[in-house]
Subunit: 451 residues, 2 copies
């Protein structure tokens, strides 16, 4: 038979089993957290009509998209989960109940130039709340509470959800008679972290055509820092001059106040006037999330409030608020930096049952008994020597080996071996299940380390 050298395409993440187990743990936290807030799981096709996917058209998206013909059809792979959501809500508008809350954790595709740490197929983990005509500000406070739960679920403490409101920015620029330039200014201010205030000022003056006074006012504004109370208090100083600004300030205050009720500690949450988000469609609260010890990673969870989800597909006002986590890239970076907790077991099972006699029936029963107690159990069925069996247990990294030899069978027991400590216990199947379960539950170590 001719052999074709196997390979996986570059830019496509394909993990070994241990790493995949680590990845699944993060996925599981996301699924559980999103579900616990009553978001419905959504699963849209990976392939859509290219015309529909590109309704918004143009730009980088069109260049990166995987687009192809099949028969007469002009098809494309989704490049994010927002456009398919917009299509879904427009298409099923009459069958959905609003506010419609959905989460989707799915792969998206972008044919980017291949480079280290950039992926052409990657998971996005999104939540959105869509209103029909209106959507209460309370939803804008709930979103960062969910972000908080997700990152705490990962085991992290040192992260910060940075929140701003586009109405405040737009209103402020209107005060400076810069309403028409607000888009350009926001995109420039968004770069503050990367290029610093001097370069921002230079762009504002030279490219955006601002006066020295206007630029200084903007720099003074985005330099407002302090506790959330201090920042809000400083903003009060601008109140009463512009309606949109005042509305944005009310919204920001509502979000801040309600976050406390959601149980989000002050240290994980900051009003940050430099956050604008590049995309033009955000109209209210905007979010970015940074790992405090790893600012170089950038925002790991971003999003905001928008007024018009599906204008390309339906003549209805569908405001919403949502966030997106680029899970594949986040996982890659965490792994690269050695932040995925290596002390968590990566075996696909909690216990490996090793029969030491020819009688498989007892080993099968033992394995089934452990499973019925909630354990993940692999039965090792190969005819190998004891040493090879233990080597297998070692290699797959299983936390517990359960040995069943003549002595154990005679006593109606099994030997449970802690593979890390080497400690052995002679236990009944029920005792064994309880012993292993309690050891595993005790190991509530964080998924991600902070160092």
């Amino acid at each position: 038979m001719d052999i074709i050298k196997p390979r996986t395409l570059s830019g496509f993440m394909e993990l070994l089993p241990g790493k995949q187990t680590q990845f699944e743990r993060l996925m599981s936290v996301l699924r559980d957290t999103y579900s616990s807030y009553g978001f419905a799981p959504l699963d849209t096709p990976a392939i859509e009509d290219a015309q529909i996917l590109l309704a918004k058209g143009g730009g980088e998206t069109e260049k990166q998209i995987y687009r192809f013909q099949k028969g007469d059809s002009d098809l494309a792979l989704r490049f994010d989960l927002t456009v398919p959501l917009a299509k879904y809500v427009a298409l099923h508008y009459n069958e959905l109940t609003f506010p419609f809350r959905r989460y989707q954790i799915s792969k998206v595709y972008r044919g980017e130039r291949a480079q280290r740490g950039r992926f052409r197929e990657f998971y996005q983990a999104d939540i959105d709340i869509i209103g029909d005509g209106k959507l209460d500000i309370l939803n804008e406070a709930e979103i960062p509470a969910i972000i908080y739960k997700v990152f705490r679920g990962f085991g992290l403490k040192r992260f910060q959800i940075r929140v701003n409101n586009r109405k405040i920015l737009t209103g402020f620029y209107a005060m400076l008679e810069l309403a028409k330039k607000s888009g350009d200014i926001m995109r420039t201010v968004d770069k503050l972290d990367k290029i610093g205030p001097e370069k921002v000022k230079k762009i504002l003056l030279e490219d955006c055509g601002l006066t020295e006074l206007q630029a200084d006012e903007i720099l003074k504004f985005i330099a407002i820092r302090g506790t959330n109370a201090q920042v809000l208090s400083a903003l009060e100083g601008y109140a009463g001059k512009n309606e949109l600004f005042d509305l944005g300030l009310e919204e920001l205050k509502a979000v801040t106040v309600n976050l406390a009720a959601f149980g989000v500690p002050e240290e994980n949450f900051a009003v940050d006037l430099t956050i604008a988000r590049g995309l033009d469609y955000y109209t209210g609260t905007v979010y970015e999330t940074t790992l405090l010890d790893h600012p170089e990673i950038g925002s790991v969870c971003s999003g905001g409030r928008y007024d018009n989800l599906a204008g390309y597909y339906i003549d209805k006002a569908l405001p919403g608020v949502g966030i997106s986590i680029g899970l594949t890239r986040l996982f890659y970076v965490l792994d690269e930096q050695g932040l995925l907790n290596p002390n968590l077991p990566t075996a696909p099972c909690d216990a490996l049952v090793l029969p030491m006699t020819a009688d498989a029936a007892c080993a099968i029963s033992l394995a089934e008994s452990l499973r019925s107690n909630g354990l993940k159990v692999q039965l090792y069925g190969e005819q190998k020597k004891f040493k090879q069996k233990m080597a297998y247990a070692d290699k797959i990294g299983v936390p517990f080996a359960v040995l069943l030899g003549e002595d154990e069978l005679a006593a109606g027991k099994c030997t449970v071996k802690n593979m890390q400590t080497g400690q052995q216990e002679l236990l009944t199947p029920e005792e064994a299940a309880a012993y292993i379960l309690s050891a595993l539950t005790a190991n509530n170590a964080p998924l991600i380390l902070e160092k």
Copy 2:
């Protein structure tokens, strides 16, 4: 703004939230069951190099495949999960530990002619156990035990896992001096259920060129029926004439005996000599699973033992055993026939918290308290009238509404309303959580009905 009429491509399943919840429940049973047997989750790219995906080449597959160029690359979407598994095992051979057990529940793509109930994008839910050079027969007994657990997990009792062994068939044909024709014969016998014994005989005589005597022997053989013990006993009558047959019979006996130890009842399992599976690469035990009250659906879970997983990619003997469930089609058929239990709640949450006062903070705390007790909770934040709030609860089909008005706030309690019975209880947040949890846990109704 120009409006583009939204649509979803035909042949692509896109579910409304309630149906998606039903679908997710089946997925969750599969994930939990596969995991409980120590299978590692695997996630391979949806896009592969077309040359690699088509290494085996030819036939229907090539016509149906989604294949396209991106830059210089000749790409294709996976059409099953077996070829990507073969590639994965060959590529990572040195990094894997054998036996390697993986499950994968992922979408695959086939550009079939569009017709009702046929899908171009559909989920397959596969498990495989791959050995390096050898793989013990015990694994062939474990697979049907897992199928049993999956279908019991769906809530079904009236299903049958039909098992045969290709060595028995091949050996038997060799006894009749039909070794060279065994492939053709098996493919013909495989049609027995669909076309009946007379047509099978006709094809055997006319197309396969068998003698009357040979055809009669085959029909007599595949007519062997009865309990598993009776069938095995009838097979003993053929023993001692062909080595391969004898080996197959030993294997079939081992599978049958061990299944009892795995706790699979006799009524869910049948030795069935008519099962051959069309694919040539099966070499030992083969499986099909039918819903006894719905034979028209055909096999809902099939697979078997093979000797050579990845011969196209690596010069190693990699025997394995596996099964596949076509989840999207199964779901579609169950839904069409009204077999998805309509009594299970389809709301994305267990409880909907309805604040009846302007004070959001208490409602937020209540919702968080219910969540911390393990409930899925949506907080309804819109400023609407009581009637509209209750209409929302009705529409999303939430089992419990939790009302928080002035009276409740004053008493430090909340009103829990069972949306099905209308019954209301005034409870503390802790009592409410316990009350709702116990009501939900009591509802351990089957996911799929048997009627």
